[in-house]
Amino acid sequence: MALKKTRAAALNTVNDKPENAGQTAGNTNRVTLVIAVVLVLAVIAATVVHVYAHEQTNIFGFVEYGASLQNNRILVSDELDMVYLGTYQNNVLAFTREGDPVWSSDIGAAIGAMQFDSHKQLLIVGSQNRNVYVYNALNGEILHTYPVNGKVRDMDYNPVNGQLLVAAEASATSSTIYILDIDSGEELFSTKLKQPAQGAGFSRDYQYIFYGDSRGRVTKLDLNGDKVADSKARTEVVALSVVHETGDVLVLDKLGNLFKFDESLNELYKLELEGEGKALGASYDGHWIAAGTREGDIYILDGSGKIHFRDRQNYDITQVYFGEDISYVVTLSPELFEFSTRKLDNINYMSNLSTWSLIALIACALAAAAALIVTFPRSRDLAKRFFKSIYRHRVAYLMLMPSIVLILIFNYYNVFQALYYAFTDWSLATRTMREINFIGFDNFIKIFKEGYFLLGVKNLVIMMVASFVKLLTVPLLLAELVFAMRTLSGESSRRRYWFRLLLVMPMVVPGVVSTLMWKNIYDPNIGALNTLLKTVHLDSWTHSWLGNPDTALGAIIFMGFPFVNSFAFLVYYGGLINIPADLFEAARVDGSTPLWNFFHIHLPLISPQLKMLIITTFIGSVQDYGGVYLLTQGGPGTATYVPGLELYYAATKFGQYGYACAMGLLMFIVILIGSLVNLRMKTQELN
């Protein structure tokens, strides 16, 4: 009978609409199960699409030739079916398309630029040894050598009349731009610049010259050497390229800013790429632009500046060469890549597909999980209870939300970052985050080897002991004194109020101001301390207090005399006045002395306050360096160096971020151990 009933109920549920089914908990919901299965299938499909699309965006292929060399420049001749490599190791190499070596030539210096004359079959090589070589492209015979005044940085070639544009860097403050006749070597034009020109090119009609210099200026000259137009990049120009078909000028600067100018150097757009700019290339029609960075990033953009593809290789990108069919990416290494220029058109579509399929994948997976949860009675109940509970306590969560969000972003995120970076070589020299290397415990070994940190520890211990003494004496004494003030009839006195106020008042002087004021008091010439000593004829006692290694640490400790720590005083005092009066009454009946009262009533009953003050003082003094920073900056010598200061310098002046994080981590461990010991000690005492 009972069985029948449940079965009927089950049948009922299945035939019911989903929302009804949800209400009768305890049954599997088939509709959502079907949905879940469909969604899982969708997830699988999305994964397949994503993997396929992702593979399609992977367009680079390795090229075998030129292995074992640091390649710098490439040039491909479609007419001769030849590939020419200029290396950083002084070689010019010629290969057939298939990769068989044809000829090679050693010119004793790195190759700066290459150009090709397909009509005359000349290979023109500009070298860093201040020469331009003209080769017979077929057999590698040197036909001409033209000296130029500087290392060749960039060249451009006008094949119609055989004019070669050369940008040669003589020194950091001078360079020359030449136009040479390729047959005679005759200097048709030259202009001297006060800064190195890194990139130069002819305009589309070969009537003008564009160049970019190390000041970040882009200039257009006519062939008389007169400036026609100019414009600015952000920093040092590293490459300049003129699009043959449109005449637009592309400029890449050292900060990775890519600019596109029109022929009159009006800025068309500007893009920021991540990394240090290094190489720039554009296809003949300007449809594709490629930029490479020193970190090995390669970006491929379309003419409007939209990034279609981005990849990272292991070495500096030195050139991106756009050929008609095959394009090449040259890195400062044996690794040379080729990609099909045509495939680029496809890449945009594929990368979109890849992104969207990933989004679909995640969405479907989430939906499938939700559907599955709703399907089974137990998980359905759990989910319901979870959301109900959150809803019931929504006020608590809402009120906590801002605090928790802030803490997660501005504290915990940074804490985990610091934990991670403590084991890396992150420093000022690191150019992008991806270049950071994991170096294990090297930073920690350095802390113990380099010595500055340890030197600081000795001073820190002295200063910490002093600050504990300061904390436990004067403020406590004053709290006791003020607490003991009463009228003759035994009531608490008005004096209490006034002294309390007076003792708290000095804290309105900001810490920086009072530290600087003490710096003035310690001044050897006009400081109050030395003047006071002279006034009482103790001239021999005068010192350059902060300038003398023997007295500097003492002077820093003595700062703030007579150490009326207003906060500690108030906390102690608060502890004392909160002691129940009947305790004293009982003690008095037993004939207690004030001293007995102090040790057996006052101290135990203000121990929570003591504990708090000791922990905060400990935490504060381990990492404190503010006073030292303002007074002596750790000097003279290392007389007042503290670990916190070393950390601060590492993080700011020296830019050793990973090392700084490691020191922070070490100090955190010390603080953690100290606090735990402190907490434990006190709890035992209380029991």
Binding site: A418, N525, G575
Partner: protein, 289 residues
Amino acid sequence: MTDNTANVLKMRKKRRMREMSFQTLITVITIIFVLLAFIPIFLMLFLSLKSQSQFYANLWALPIPPRWQNYNAAWNQLIRNMVNSVVTVSVGTLLIVSLAAMSGYVFARLEFPLKNFLFMLMLALMMIPGVLTLTPSFKLIQRIGLKNTWWALWLPWASGGQVMGMYLCRTFISNQPASLFESARIDGATEFKAFFYIALPLAKPILATLVVMNMISLYGDFIWPLLVIESNTKQVISVAIQTYSSATGMTDYGAMIAGFVMATVPLVIMFSFSSRLYIEGITSGAVKA
């Protein structure tokens, strides 16, 4: 009988004398400490009116004639930074205190899942030294583009400063009688109303304590603003006073010290309004481990 009374009187008188001399003694000692503590402040006021030659002639001589131009010079140099400090510190303190009050109330009065976990999550931050996160925090601010804006001060200040405040507020609010909140709930007050109309007014002393504590510590913070604020027009006084002091420190001591006095004035004004509540808050016994 009379003998006895006389004896008692005598003893009482003796005790009275002893008590009186004891009270005198402790008062004198306290006065000495107060005077010593005020020396730098007196010195500051006194020296701020001296001219350069008066510094070298005799440091203790009265500044006659007083050189009021010192304050002129300091005012012209520092007023911008003082206004910056007042604005940034006020906003920062307001953020800290409101966050601390809310989370303190929640942890003191409400029960909800994950309460202990979230509480420990916040409290554990007290153990984490600021220097550990100095570098990543700076890089974070740089990356999210807040560098050289006041948000770079407010957000990390609020985030780090609220923890101690939350703890103090929680202790203080959990000492408030629970019956108050129960009767409010019976009368149909929402949780938020109970917080706003009961807990907050009763927590005034601890809130004042938090305001004063945080104002003083934010006002004195010079490491963080030095890192994240670049332009002098946005810089706060605690950093500006250093530059100012090294700029004037060689040539014009009087003007330098007048600058110190000026930098103190905002805190004096703030303190004169809140000292009573501040003292009440700290001595209430909530400040303990």
